[in-house]
Each structure stands twice: as C-alpha cells, then as structure tokens.
C-alpha cells in the first residue's frame, strides 16, 4: 500500500491550562506538535498510511515524542536522532479580544542539527506516493532546507505527488537565506500548492488582491512560473474575534474555480493547527474524492479542529463527513 510522507520539526508544546495567562499558571500541559506532525497524525486518524520524518533528540523527551506519534499510528522508522534537545514552544490560549501568544525555544533544537545524507531518502520513500512539506522547514536552518530539497528531488524523480504549504513566518528565516528564492526553489518540485494570495504574492513578487478573480489570475501566474504545480487551494479565515472565526476555501485546478460556503465557528476551543488540519483533510480527500469534494472535506476537517485542545485534529473520516453532510447541530451522540 502506498504511504504519505511528512517531513519537519517535532516540537513539545507547553501551554497554560485553559485560558490562563502564563503569569497566572503554575502548571503547564504538554503535547507534541509541529505543523507537519499535525498533518501526519490527522491523516493517520483518517486511516491512511503515513510516515513522519524528523530529527529528534536522543533522550527520554525524544523517546516520548516518538511514542506519541506511534500512539496515533504514524510510522516513525525513518526518524533520525541528535544530541541537541527537542524544540519547545510555549502557548497561552487567548479568548474573545485577547489573542493567543506563542514563544519559541527552538533555535538550537535537535532538528537544527539535521544535515543532508542523515535521512536515507531512498529507503524512506520506498513505498510512498505522496510527500508533504511546509515553508516552516526551509525557514528554520540551512540543513533543514537542504535535507528537504534532497527529499523533494527524489520525490520528483519518483513521480510522487508533492503538496506544499509554504506558510510564510517572518519571525523565522534567521540563517540568512532569502525566503522568496528558497521557497521558489522548492516549489519546482511541487504539484499542489496550499496557500493564500498573499503567499502567492510572496513567491512571485506580485500584487494580486483578495478577490476570486485575482485568486484565479494569481493561480494561473503561479502555475506558469512553476509548471509542475497543477492545483492551488486557498484557505480563508475571517476573524470576528479570538473566539469566533469563519472559514472558507477556494481552488483553481487549471480548469475549474470552486469555492466552499462559510463555516461559522462561534466558540473556538483551540485554533492552533487548523491550517494543518486543512492540509491533512486535503491530502486524504484528494486520494479518495474529486478535487471539489476533497476541498470541502478539508474545510470541514479544519472547522472541526477548532473544537479540540492541542495541535492535532483527532476527527475520524466519519465525523468529518457528518459535518460535510450539514450535521452541525453538535447534538449529544448517545
């Protein structure tokens, strides 16, 4: 059976309980996360075969992170280890008009030690049909970029589907690389682009606006610049306040433009990882449904993620389908 591969840093998340501010809390909850890990666990929850590749600390913290992945059925056999500690991020969950706050402690993490040749890509991609990467990895360190590129070169050679979520975080990118150039380099190996008009503008240096018309123009422009890309998916968020968002998505697959309706999330539990939930839903959806239904599935999956604490979407396919079928009453299931 063919496998999906994700590659990127695993972080330990330490968060204050409930909606407490850091200064109030004497107790931190821990989860493991990281954007590509979140995607992998969600795909595993949907029942597809998925492997995560990373560089994890060679200590009991790293062992615990690996157990965590294994618990959800993510394959961990290609993970490499290093002597540096696992990266950590601290989270304070906001509410209503108070935004969530994040602070990273990842600059000399185990993942920052990754170098080309550490991952045996030939063996790792042996039974794979899909590779997913995000813009976080090349933003972290030179070794992250080079190792990712190594994997993508082989993925392209083997004809894998490659989904990219170039998520631009200006706070990262400290090692001197130019984000536009670096991401562009990697997009040459990608077939599916998950990102907004802003992210397309970042890559192309263009100035497209938010409208559907501009989204189509921007997508066509992107596909011309990167001929291997054949589908563009955009996830859109309207933020009424920290507790109430509306999400929607749209797509251009070279032939068709489609968009979903707004999904109204009135009482957000935890919005971290909702973009990852979208990507996971999309990767699952594109393998089981047509493009439009895949996008609808991804949007519904992302909407459900807003109701879980932690970074990961714990929904099953059945639960996502329920939302897709318009069953959003949230009635108690007895």
């Amino acid at each position: 059976m063919s496998q999906i591969v994700t590659f990127g840093e695993v972080l330990m998340r330490l968060s204050a309980e409930g909606n407490k501010k850091f200064i109030q809390s004497n107790r931190l909850e821990f989860y493991f996360g990281g954007t590509e890990v979140n995607v992998a666990i969600s795909i595993a929850n949907f029942g597809d075969d998925v492997k995560h590749i990373s560089c994890i600390s060679d200590d009991f913290v790293g062992d615990t992170a690996i157990s965590y992945l294994r618990k959800f059925g993510v394959e961990t056999s290609s993970i490499v280890r290093s002597k540096q500690p696992l990266g950590v991020y601290f989270l304070e969950v906001g509410a209503v008009m108070r935004p969530s706050m994040i602070s990273y402690n990842r600059s000399h993490s185990s993942f920052s030690e990754i170098k080309p040749k550490m991952v045996d890509w030939e063996a790792s991609l042996k039974n794979c049909s899909w590779f997913h990467w995000t813009g976080i990895t090349p933003a972290l360190c030179e070794g992250g970029f080079q190792t990712l590129k190594e994997g993508l070169v082989l993925a392209k050679k083997k004809g894998l589907e490659v989904s990219s979520d170039p998520t631009y975080r200006s706070g990262l990118w400290k090692y001197g690389a130019d984000p536009k150039e670096t991401i562009s380099d990697l997009l040459n190996y990608s077939t599916i682009f998950i990102g907004s008009v802003n992210e397309i503008n970042e890559v192309l240096g263009s100035d497209y606006k938010y409208s559907n018309e501009d989204f189509i123009k921007a997508s066509k422009h992107l596909m011309k610049a990167f001929p291997s890309i054949n589908k563009v998916f955009d996830k859109m968020r309207t933020s009424i306040n920290a507790s109430w968002h509306k999400i929607r998505s749209r797509m251009w697959n070279g032939d068709d433009f489609r968009e979903t309706v707004d999904l109204d999330i009135t009482h957000i539990v935890d919005r971290i990882g909702t973009g990852d939930a979208f990507a996971a839903g999309l990767i699952y959806g594109l393998q089981h449904f047509d493009d439009y239904k895949a996008m609808e599935f991804a949007a519904a999956a992302s909407a459900l993620k807003h109701t879980y604490e932690g970074d990961v979407n714990f929904s099953s396919v059945e639960e996502v389908m329920n939302v897709l079928d318009g069953n959003t009453s949230g009635r108690l299931n007895r």
Binding site: S67, Y68, R70, K71, F72, G73
Partner: protein
C-alpha cells in the same frame, strides 16, 4: 530478537489521584492495563518484538486501549474487534497499614464474550517463539477459558515455548465452581514450559502448600527454602514444565515490601538477593513486570537462569516505583540496578 505473543484482557483503570479514598475523589487518573498487556509493554521496552492479542469493542474507549499499546511499541494487528464494552477496574492506592483496593466492573467485556474460532491462532503464531498467558484469562468466562485452551494447544503444536503466570484472583472465577476451576487450570498449565506463581497461586489453584509457612501470618518473613517443596510438587504435577518460578513478596506494609525470586529447574534452585522496596509508588503490575523481565532474561541468557532471574527481580523492583500498571523501564536501567547501583541518584 525473538517474537513473543501475549493474550488476555486489557482494561480501563480508573484511580483516584495520589492516596485519596474513593469517597474523597472527584476525578480519576486513566491508565490502560492488564496482566498480559503489562508483560507485552515490558518486553517492548526491552526491544523484544511482541504482539498483544485480545478482543476489544469497536468504540473510542477500545481504540484508546489499542493506541496505548501501540504507543508503547506493542504490535496490535492481531487484536480482534467486537463485543460491547471494555472492562473497567477501579483502584484505590493504599499506604502503610491500609491495603490498596480493587473494584472490578468487567463482566460482559468484549473478551469475556469471546468464543473459540474468533482468533486465527495459526496466523497469530506465525514465526513466534514464545507465548504467554495468565490465570486471569480463563477466570473471565468459559469462552475466554476455551479460547485460552485453543491458544495453548495451537502454540504447543508449533513447538512454541509457553509460559504462564498462575495469577489467582478470588474475585474472578465466578462462572464455575472450584472443581471446574482446578480442572481448567490443570489442563492449561499442563502445556506450559515455564510456570510462574507465588505461594498463594499454587495453594489456591492446585492445593499445593509450602511446608511450614502461613503466608497470611508470616507475610514479612518469606524464606526461599519453604518454596522448594512447592516447586517440586508443581513439577510432579506438570511434567512438561522445565522451570517453576516463584516471586517472594514480603509485605511489611502496603508501603514497604521486600522482593526476591526463586527458580527451580528440576535439579537446582536459583535464588536472588532480597530487595527492600521502602516507599512503594504503585505495586499493581509488580508480578507482570517480573514475568516481563523473566521472559526477556530467559530469551537473552538461555544458558544462564541465574542472570535471567536476577534481571526479572531487578526489573520488577523498578516497577514498584512507577505509577500505572506497566513497567516503563529500559534494559540499561534494569542492568544498572542488577549491577548494584540502587542509589537512585539523578542521572544527568
């Protein structure tokens, strides 16, 4: 390393935090455990390839039990799904003169309603070297006893080494009378190569007594020699058994136990040093951690029963310091204690 299979029930354990009594608690800590799954987790931690076989209900709670096993690196592919519920047990942790209490809510669990033919033992035992079951499984129901017999017969036909932990549980064994129980346990045990029990197991299951010792009155003063007679009687009754092993728990209080083991191979009795476990964190699963260590030891040091036994005792000493049912220690940690380093210094 060799492949091991264990078979039995895994339950949801709900325990008040710390030393709270049931009547004080407003929340329970969640653990998933059971005699045979605890052995599987021990072995996975030691790097042994191990599958846990059970029957779980196809609902979120059953899935969580499976995920807990998978998290620990135990193979879960041979688990069969069906039935209505996962068994639950409530645990109140005692201290000093107050013993721990267990309340079972496990009747009609998925595995209690298992029937012969539900598990494909031929597939389960492919390339397997060792099969482990315990006296808890046949106590659950006639169906579970029947499937256990099916398993030992299939394993025996393939020449697989079979071990048991007799694990007498008075609160179970409700589906049949004592005579029937003894018949079931005698038949099942007759297929075993390695038999582990404590003084109470041999007495309650087979009416075999250590000479000159009343364990209830003299719980703090258990002597290895007294068990030689138990081992000899066991070997007479079960000629296939090559090794009979007894754990020696001295219960000075609920918080302070002594711990040692003896192994008899029909010729020689091996004995370990006696450990003092002065501040018990959680003694549930202590015997399972001994069994996990023993299986590892016997596989790793096939010509050195003393070493295997020493490993088992040291491993289960460490279990008493770990909250939850399963022993979450590595080979290196056990070997450190075997080597005499019981200082508990911080490893930086």
């Amino acid at each position: 390393m060799s492949k091991v299979v264990t078979f039995g029930e895994i339950m949801l354990r709900l325990a008040p935090q710390g030393f709270l009594r049931f009547s004080q608690a407003n929340s329970f800590d969640v653990v998933y455990g059971g005699g045979e799954s605890n052995v599987a987790v021990s072995l996975a931690n030691y790097g042994v390839s191990v599958d846990f076989v059970t029957r779980l209900p196809k609902n979120d709670i059953g899935e969580c039990a499976m995920m807990e096993m998978r998290k620990r690196g135990v193979g879960v592919d041979k688990i069969v799904w069906g039935g209505d519920r996962l068994g639950i047990y409530f645990l109140e942790t005692g201290a000093v003169s107050r013993g721990s209490k267990v309340v079972y809510d496990r009747a009609h669990s998925a595995i209690a309603e298992i029937k012969p033919g539900m598990i494909d033992w031929d597939a389960v035992f492919k390339d397997v070297e060792w099969f482990h079951w315990t006296g808890i499984t046949p106590a659950i129901s006639q169906g579970a006893a029947d499937v256990c017999l099916e398993a030992v017969k299939a394993a025996s036909a393939k020449g697989i080494t079979i071990s048991t932990d007799l694990n007498y549980r008075a609160k179970l064994w409700t589906f049949c009378d004592d005579a029937h129980r003894e018949k079931i346990m005698t038949e099942l045990t007759s297929y075993c190569d390695v038999v582990l029990g404590n003084e109470e197991d041999a007495e309650k299951h087979f009416n075999i007594h250590p000479e000159g010792l009343d364990v209830h009155k003299h719980g703090h003063d258990v002597k290895a020699e007294a068990f030689l007679s138990v081992c000899k009687q066991m070997m007479e009754k079960f000629p296939k058994a090559k090794k009979v092993i007894t754990t020696l728990r001295g219960s000075i209080s609920a918080s302070h136990n002594t711990w040692a083991g003896v192994l008899y191979d029909g010729k020689k009795m091996y004995e370990t040093r006696q450990y003092q476990i002065t501040d018990i964190v959680d003694r549930v699963g202590g015997g399972d951690s001994f069994m996990g260590g023993l299986i590892y030891g016997l596989l790793k040091y096939p010509e050195d029963d003393q070493n295997a036994l020493d490993f088992a005792v040291a491993a289960s000493c460490l279990k008493h310091t770990i909250k939850g049912d399963a022993n979450l220690v590595t080979v290196a940690e056990v070997e450190k204690l075997m080597g005499g380093d019981a200082s508990g210094r911080v490893a930086r």
